[in-house]
């Protein structure tokens, strides 16, 4: 018993040696509210790298990779092909529980920060993030240059929902950093996970997590919940609204 406790303590100590730095982060707003005049927003993530006694003295420069992941959803990517002279959807791939919003920020390019091997393991860069596909009954991610995968990332990037920026993180002092998290206007509603990974001399030395949520409030919230929970009443009210609008217009524009 005593020996087991000692072993546990040893493991704990060794573990803390491996994680000699502590990351302290905060997002400027943990609850983004969507109001009628919402048209996108930019959050700011602040943080600092706290060293302790066990930090090797030669470790002065750090690298950071920030990953922001929106609520997950299933998505289908379809490919059109020419059949009998017309372009129709012939092939498709289903992406399972992939982030609806995905942003990867770093202070310098991912290749300089770490080795391809570690980048793959830590999912650094859009090419390395795990995007599970259903491929004929199997669940797996495919090679980064797969046509469906790259088309998926390209289309999401075009809409501003997937982004990769290797110069977004700025170090204000060698240990104090900040980065902006741009949220486009058509941002998905839900909980967003933020992962901050710390690297030094190419090695992964620790990470921390935080989160923020995007919520509808007030009128938007009311409409969305009513539509979902009381479909019949919602439909009746919408239909009545249509009739009212039509009737009022015919009164307003009545000539005789």
């Amino acid at each position: 018993m005593k020996r087991a406790a000692l072993a546990a303590l040893l493991v704990l100590l060794l573990g803390s040696v491996a994680h000699a730095e502590r990351l302290i982060v905060s997002v400027s707003n943990h609850r983004v509210t969507v109001t009628p005049n919402y048209s996108g927003e930019e959050l700011v993530l602040f943080g600092s790298v706290e060293k302790d006694a066990t930090t090797p003295a030669d470790r002065t420069a750090y690298d950071l990779v920030v990953t922001v992941m929106g609520p997950r959803a299933d998505m289908v990517t379809r490919r059109k092909e020419r059949t009998f002279g017309i372009w129709i959807n012939t092939d498709y791939r289903q992406f399972l529980q992939v982030p609806s919003y995905l942003a990867l920020f770093a202070n310098r390019s991912f290749e300089i920060i770490t080795s391809p091997e570690i980048a793959r393991r830590q999912q650094i860069g859009l090419n390395n993030v795990l995007l599970t596909q259903r491929v004929s009954g199997d669940y797996a991610d495919v090679v980064p240059n797969d046509a469906f995968r790259s088309a998926f990332i390209r289309l999401r990037t075009q809409r501003g929902l997937y982004r990769e920026d290797a110069s977004a993180v700025t170090f204000l002092t060698p240990t104090l950093f900040r980065t902006g998290i741009p949220l486009p206007a058509e941002v998905p509603i839900g909980t967003y996970e933020v992962e901050i990974k710390l690297f030094a001399n190419g090695a992964f030395i620790g990470k921390t997590e935080t989160a923020f949520e995007i919520v509808k409030v007030g009128f938007e919230q009311f409409v969305a919940t009513t539509a979902r929970q009381n479909g019949l009443i919602y439909g009746l009210v919408t239909a009545a609204m249509a009739l009212m609008t039509g009737w009022m217009a015919s009164i307003v524009f009545r000539k005789d």
């Binding site: 996108g40 998505m75 409409v223 479909g231 039509g246 005789d256």
Partner: protein
């Protein structure tokens, strides 16, 4: 001015949507059609998902056809008996269409089916109307009297009924069949079907032009109210805010459209409508034939969590 849509989940420019509603409303008031086949592609173009667009457009069409119908009612340009018989078929057709829609979706390739039926329907109806309008216009230019309307086999069917306001004596069978067909097409393709109904009523049923538009609006109104309810209950995708902006624009446009429509002569009106329908049909056809800018598309299957 930007406004966030609670169901479609994106901000839109209010004035842009108002203008779109007014433009489509003008066209719908002028020709007595719902305008869904114009509105839905426009909404998709500004970034609203097809499902939410189709669902919200239904209530917009209901509003503008109601305001139009009221105007026509005051002018005594609606035949209530004819509308009633059409509706019997229309409701049956809509229910059948919704059922077929579900079956087709299970089979896949629904998008292609819809695109193909758009092309076939719009180009056929459009070119028929356009050529007929052109012929009628030439006749009036030359000053010749149009040939007398001859009775066809449809007028030999039993179960005849007298429609006083339209001044026709016609069997109810073809009217119910037309109602079923329109209701069915409307539910499957997500359109009001007015642009098919109007020519059928004029050329096949020989309903006088004076009551055609008003009566077809009544059918559009009821089927679209039905569709709004159906979409709200099954898909929860009707965006009331979007619908309201579209409605306000739409009913205003429809009033001016209805007035403009009264000033234009019948054959010119048919020529214009034929041209409009034909061009939308050709646009859909071109989209199918031309190599798309992007071969890939993404569709979200619903956010969880």
């Amino acid at each position: 001015m930007q406004l966030y849509l609670p169901i479609a989940d994106l901000p839109v420019n209010v004035f842009l949507v108002l203008a779109m509603g007014a433009a489509v409303g003008f066209v719908s008031g002028m020709f007595g059609i719902g305008g869904g086949f114009l509105m839905t592609p426009l909404l998709i173009f500004i970034g609203i998902t097809p499902a939410a667009a189709v669902a919200s457009v239904a209530s917009h069409i209901a509003a503008s056809s109601f305001s139009g119908a009221l105007t026509y009612w005051r002018r005594r340009a609606i035949d209530p008996a004819l509308a009633g018989v059409l509706l019997c078929g229309g409701v049956t057709g809509t229910a059948l269409g919704v059922w077929t829609f579900t079956q087709l979706r299970a089979l896949g390739q629904l998008d292609l089916m819809i695109a193909l039926s758009y092309v076939v329907l719009l180009t056929t109806v459009g070119s028929l109307m356009f050529s007929e309008g052109l012929r009628a216009l030439m006749r009036t230019r030359r000053g010749t009297v149009p040939p007398r309307r001859t009775h066809n086999w449809i007028h030999g069917l039993p179960l005849k009924m007298r429609f006083k306001r339209s001044k026709i004596y016609l069997s109810v069978i073809p009217i119910v069949v037309v109602g079923i067909v329109i209701g069915f097409i409307g539910a499957v393709m997500g359109i009001g079907g007015g642009f098919i109904l109007v020519p059928i009523m004029i050329y096949v049923l020989r309903v006088p032009t004076s009551t055609v538009i008003g009566t077809s609006m009544v059918l559009t109104l009821v089927t679209m109210l039905f569709a709004t309810m159906l979409h709200a209950v099954t898909n929860h995708l009707v965006d009331a805010v979007l619908a309201l902006i579209l409605m306000v624009g739409g009913v205003t446009g429809a009033q001016f459209g209805a007035r403009a429509g009264q000033k234009i002569r019948g054959e010119q009106l048919r020529l214009l409508l034929g041209l409009l329908i034909l061009s939308v049909g050709v646009r859909f056809a071109v989209e199918l034939v031309i190599r798309p800018e992007d071969l890939f598309t993404i569709r979200e299957l619903g956010v969880s969590g």
